[in-house]
Symmetry: none
Subunit: 222 residues, 2 copies
Amino acid sequence: MEPLRRAPLADQAAELLLARIRAGEWALGQKLPGETTLAPQLGVGRSTVREAIRQLAGRGVLASRQGAGVFVTALDAREDWDAVLLRSGIVAVLEARAAIETEAAALAAARRTPADLRAIRRALAGRGERRTEIAAHVDADTALHRSIVAAAHNEILLELFDGFTPRVRKAMIEMLRIRADFGSDSDHAAHEELVAAVTDRDADRAASLSRAHLRSLTEALT
Amino acid sequence: MEPLRRAPLADQAAELLLARIRAGEWALGQKLPGETTLAPQLGVGRSTVREAIRQLAGRGVLASRQGAGVFVTALDAREDWDAVLLRSGIVAVLEARAAIETEAAALAAARRTPADLRAIRRALAGRGERRTEIAAHVDADTALHRSIVAAAHNEILLELFDGFTPRVRKAMIEMLRIRADFGSDSDHAAHEELVAAVTDRDADRAASLSRAHLRSLTEALT
DNA sequence: TAGCACAACTCCTCAGACAAGTTGAGGAGT
DNA sequence: ACTCCTCAACTTGTCTGAGGAGTTGTGCTA
């Protein structure tokens, strides 16, 4: 009759501390009460408090310095990321993707190597092929955009882009089922322009073209 | 003659365990040796081993079940994010942050509410105070930037910003120890301009000011 | 063979002791 | 009056020893 086995005290203490941090009891960079103060306050032993602190330290919320104290290093332990993407609307995702892609396009224009250009052109050619399946078309488009982000040579931006695409893919496919002005010539011309800007090392034009493209996409999905 | 203060034993033990996990010594889902075995093997006490395990548990690598043992739950420590940030150079992080902040500044200019403006002005005032401690100054600056990102009303961008700041914080503080042109009047004026642009709903100016600020910061750290 | 008691493991928690680092107050010297 | 130094109080770090609680597999019993 005990389907819930209660969590260890250390885990409970960690959750409790995190809640109090989130509530703003201690601001970012501020010091927590000492372990010897916290322990009786939470009703556990000192070692347990230490394990709770270690746990939060592993999540990047706390950092302890010997002799000085324990300090808050982040207001929030990044919750699962995927959960954030799912909870947020598609517009928010596209705005974030626009932020990534415009910066990446500018960097790509400055840093692209010949090998990058080859990969981009290959992706552009693949995108140009007329496809019957919508999903395949979306994936080809995504591959082109990804190759440009990769040419920026910034691992973080690429990682972010990859995190967004799965979420965007569904919405894109659904949209194209309704309004199919996707494979249009004007749309493809816009992409060729973007590739040309990267090739010519024109960072500003690459950024603004990228921004314009994402913006029109956002409006189409609204 | 020890400019590098060595990390606590628990941290070292955690790193060591993570290395052995990455090396494949214990497969995913497999059980680690008991604490009493691990402790003498690593040359530390049991409580230290426990703290190391807690730390890795907080990062999602290990999970312990009372009576059963400690098990590997992920081959890679949330490689998703923290590891990427740590592995990447500070320049890459700042470039990503620039991407986030410029877009956020533009959105903030369009969407800021009176309540947002109050929060931003409060943060600006806090940043203006002359502070003796470098860390406090960096945190006050971060708080201002965060308030602007928050005014964009895009949860993803805010989440990303919060993910970057802990990593940037260290580098900023170290830099300011060397060149202290941080609290300068010109620097503060630039921030006032940015706030003014958001207040005036001038998205383009907010974006370019934000981009310029992050770029100068990147160059200072190079 | 099926079921059960139990012993040997495991992690969990506490308490106490001492080491090592940090900080700020207060005194000595200028 | 100011600077520098000493030091005491406080902080986290580490180890040890002692039980408590849960899990697992062995081997006995029916």
